[in-house]
């Protein structure tokens, strides 16, 4: 038997801005086992329900994660709205869809940039982040915040996107789409990119299913799962199909996320063209919630589950969030087995880990 040694990966590691810790058991240069440990960013915000009422919690939920912030707030608000049994105005549903898809675009572009940085393609990293800034400008234009929007409330949204801003979104999307074609060609055809991604870190469809993977990670292994198909917000009215790939390797994950950026552009165009013209943005919510609800939303990283329980008081009894990165960690540990130590940093990136979601 070869000699085994343990190499710690993280908590501080250059490929990620966030602390994640994995103990890598290696034989020579090959990883035989990966043991993760979490808890460096634990804040304990689920317990804040005891100190903040259900309206204030919408803003706390938004700060579970700064990247998919809007979708966290939306998931929480939809869960509480289900308990109240209120129907959100149609225009608010479309506005939520627009902000959610803008958030998905900026999250995926951020990831594509970090991936390029992970395999040492600095130029591509900067190009992805340059295009991402245009999406952030749209977010700032429509909501007032670059990352944290605070536009959700229980019952609807607090801001409208007027017609002139819709036109700006559409014209910026045209520019972004043109620039993304060149970036996509580099990701899909460049020799140095393919040599790092093709055939590395394979997760088969059966493994992905058994390990409960979520989001683009599962879709890259051929599982057609997308919570948007459940039809929350305005997704029920929009025409789209989950993007999947059958390869299950790092390139397939890159492929799925790149194509999802284009899918988001398409969804934004559909949502803007179909958005109803009424002026109502929110319904009034009276009293306190009483009951419980499970809500599933598709975040950029995959399926997030919100469990909310209330007992008729302003403060909720329990709020529980299951985030996609937590679901993807078993898949990551399986994927790391039998890979080269030099690939570990890149492979950890390919699940798009969001540690602040996972540890809350």
């Amino acid at each position: 038997m070869k000699k085994r040694s343990i190499i710690p990966f993280g908590p501080q590691h250059p490929v990620l801005p966030e602390p994640i810790h994995i103990d890598l058991v290696i034989e020579d240069e090959t990883v035989v086992e990966a043991i993760p440990s979490v808890g460096f960013i634990h804040r304990g915000l689920e317990k804040l329900v005891e100190k903040r009422d259900f309206n204030q919690m919408a803003y706390v939920a938004e700060r579970i994660c700064g990247i998919c912030s809007f979708q966290h707030g939306m998931g929480y608000c939809e869960a509480v709205e289900h308990i109240f049994g209120v129907e959100v105005p149609d225009r608010a549903k479309y506005l939520r869809t627009i902000w959610a898809e803008l958030g998905r675009m900026h999250s995926h572009l951020l990831w594509l940039g970090l991936l390029a940085d992970g395999f040492g393609y600095e130029n591509l990293f900067y190009q992805c982040w340059r295009v991402r800034e245009k999406v952030l400008d749209l977010q700032e234009l429509t909501s007032g915040g670059r990352l944290i929007f605070s536009v959700n409330k229980v019952g609807g949204v607090i801001r409208d996107i007027p017609a002139d801003q819709q036109r700006t979104i559409l014209s910026t999307l045209d520019e972004v789409e043109q620039e993304l074609y060149a970036i996509r060609d580099t990701f899909f055809e460049d020799y140095s990119v393919l040599s790092r991604l093709k055939g590395v870190g394979i997760i088969t469809k059966e493994q992905a299913h058994d390990l409960g993977c979520a989001g683009p990670f599962a879709r890259a292994s051929g599982i057609s799962t997308d919570m948007r198909k459940l039809g929350y917000a305005a997704y029920g009215d929009l025409d789209f199909e989950p993007i999947t790939s059958n390869d299950g390797d790092s390139f397939a994950r890159c492929y799925c996320r790149m194509q999802e950026v284009f899918q988001s552009i398409d969804l934004l165009r559909q949502a803007i063209s179909k958005m109803p013209q009424d002026n109502e943005l929110a319904v009034a919510v009276k009293g306190n919630p009483d009951g419980e609800c499970f809500m599933r939303v598709e975040q950029p990283r995959g399926e997030a589950v919100y469990y909310v329980k209330a007992n008729g008081k302003p403060n909720l009894v329990r709020m529980r969030v299951r985030t996609p990165t937590f679901a993807n960690l078993p898949g990551l540990c399986e994927m790391l087995k039998n890979t080269q130590l030099a690939d570990v940093g890149l492979l950890v990136l390919t699940i798009d880990p969001c540690v602040s979601c996972t540890e809350r």
């Binding site: 966030e18 304990g44 700060r63 952030l136 944290i148």
Partner: protein, 150 residues
């Protein structure tokens, strides 16, 4: 900035931030904002860093990590708290695992407000930190020359 003669290196540590400020710090280094034009450079090694950027509040697990990073940095050094969580604990102030802002464990020189802190304000904080670093370096040099410093 006129009297700045040095190029300090930055160290970024994510305390218990929600990621919002972290990606804004990263955005500062990309072409649109390009904080490196002020002579700073991002590094991952505390032993070579002059300015510490802390995002997020301090919790029981990372308090020792932040303190250790600060102790490992060579003198003189400057600490910038980025975002309202690093300043005071912010929206998570009442969470059971949050002890407070970065000043609970390290002396903070510059507070950058915002949730998430905007790149413009982060750059303003970095520029102030560079100036403060120059001032402290001059004082440090004077002490060394007079034979009183290390």
């Amino acid at each position: 900035m006129a009297n700045v003669k040095r190029s300090p290196w930055l160290l970024h540590y994510d305390g218990s931030s929600c990621n919002g400020c972290d990606i804004e710090v990263l955005a500062c280094l990309t072409p649109v904002y390009d904080a490196e034009r002020f002579g700073v450079m991002n590094t991952g090694d505390p032993m070579q860093a002059d300015i510490l950027l802390v995002t997020g509040g301090i919790n029981s697990q990372n308090a020792s990590v932040v303190r250790q990073l600060y102790d490992q940095m060579p003198r003189p050094k400057v600490v910038v708290a980025v975002g309202v969580c690093a300043c005071t604990g912010g929206i998570f102030k009442d969470c059971y695992n949050i002890l407070g802002g970065a000043d609970k464990v390290v002396p903070v020189d510059i507070y950058v407000p915002g949730c998430a802190a905007r790149p413009q304000s982060i750059i303003d904080g970095i520029v102030q930190a560079v100036e403060l670093f120059q001032k402290r370096s001059d004082e440090h040099d004077a002490l060394v020359q007079s034979g009183k410093g290390m």
